[in-house]
Amino acid sequence: MAKYVFDLERSAKGLRLNRFLHSLTQKEQRELFLRDPDAAMKALTAEERDMVRRLDWKAMQDYGASFFCLEKLARTKGVSNPQMVAAFRGETLEAFLKTRRVPGAR
């Protein structure tokens, strides 16, 4: 069976965190988050706020964040998808890019 399948259990566990991540599709919310992270994250628990503040992609994923909601945070903070993928694999971006056919295509 595939691992990390985003099913209804994972969706329920990650709902509050995903709702925050999804809110970053709004420009005002992104600006607030960049200016005053705690104000933007006031609905989150201390544990959730800490993962977001540290941009700990793997911890957020393991906790129940949807990859597609994490993308909103990544765009807000100027992080690319290959950087996130490298974090999930537990390697550096440079090491990950060495495994790709066209490392410049990003």
Binding site: M1, A2, K3, Y4, V5, F6, D7, L8, S11, L15, N18, R19, H22, L24, T25, Q26, K27, R30, Q61, S66, F67, F68, C69, E71, K72, L73, A74, R75, T76, N81, P82, M84, V85, F88, R89, G90, F96, T99, R100, R101, V102, P103, G104, A105, R106
Partner: protein, 276 residues
């Protein structure tokens, strides 16, 4: 009566839109991708379909997990471009075809496909990253789109068989529309990729090539596979290729693949194929 003139299968990777918006047509890293879309763009320019029926998925942009539809059909007059965290792409709003979309909604529900419908929501790169590779956006889009948003994010996903059957029901719906309009089907997603877990970065070109053959010659075999099969062969996120089966199901059974292109630069295999 309306006609279905052909179909297109295409990846919808967000970096395709980035490469287009940054005009990387002649960048050696991107040229093989742009070249691969040229025959499809020429075909659309020549055949001039009135409507592109787009099977794609939203990426938790407009639809969120507090209420997540399995199949949602756009029946609006116009659709905004969604902000996915970087502001709006410099492309015009998409024109819908409300009368045909309403007809399709009624026809599908009458056939027991109890879809959701939506009006003027914003659409994300799932639709317009491939669209700008094939259809000119300036001065305005040459035709209308009918968007069908499919859940490929939150399991349980619809089965491959259900997608194929839905395609066949969409075909009957379009062919029973009284106005003489030309429709092209578009199925998006894939090919192999996985974005999460230790297996992130997974691809399998051999399976992708086989998929590109089977979608042409034996879609029935793809329809009989499970979502788990698709995740194992093409990666967790690669299972979204079930949306190609909706497109394929809506085509005439005699339709055959006329062109395809495959490019795997980074994390997702980017493919495009034309059926007529």
């Amino acid at each position: 009566m309306a006609r279905i003139i052909g179909g297109i299968g295409t990846s919808h990777v967000p970096t395709i839109a980035m490469a287009y918006d940054k005009a990387k047509q002649n960048d050696p890293d991107w040229q093989p991708l742009f070249r691969g879309y040229e025959p499809v763009a020429s075909w659309l320019a020549e055949k001039k379909p009135d409507v592109l029926f787009f099977c794609f998925n939203d990426h938790a942009t407009t639809f969120f997990f507090d209420h997540y539809p399995t199949f949602a059909l756009g029946v609006g007059e116009e659709y905004r471009i969604a902000d996915e965290g970087l502001g709006l792409r410099p492309i015009p709003r998409l024109k819908g075809h409300a009368p045909m979309a309403r007809h399709i909604a009624r026809s599908l529900v009458a056939e027991e496909f109890d879809i959701s419908v939506f009006q003027d929501l914003a659409l994300d790169h799932g639709l317009h990253s491939p669209l700008t590779m094939m259809w000119p956006s300036k001065p305005d889009w040459p035709g209308a789109v009918i968007p069908l948003v499919v859940n490929v994010l939150q399991h349980p996903l619809p089965s491959p068989r259900r997608c194929y059957k839905l395609g066949k029901a969409i075909r009957r719906a379009i062919l029973s529309y009284p106005e003489d309009l030309k429709v092209a089907m578009v199925g998006t997603g894939g090919l192999s990729h996985q974005m999460i877990g230790e297996r992130a970065g997974f691809n399998d070109e051999k399976w992708d090539r086989e998929f590109l053959e089977l979608i042409d010659r034996d879609p029935e075999r793809l329809a009989s596979m499970s979502i788990d099969d698709f995740m194992r062969l093409g990666g967790n996120e690669g299972a979204e290729v079930i949306m190609w089966l909706i497109m394929r199901g809506a085509l005439d059974e005699r339709a055959r693949k006329r062109h395809d292109n495959y490019y795997l630069p980074m994390t997702t295999a980017m493919a495009v194929a034309l059926f007529e």
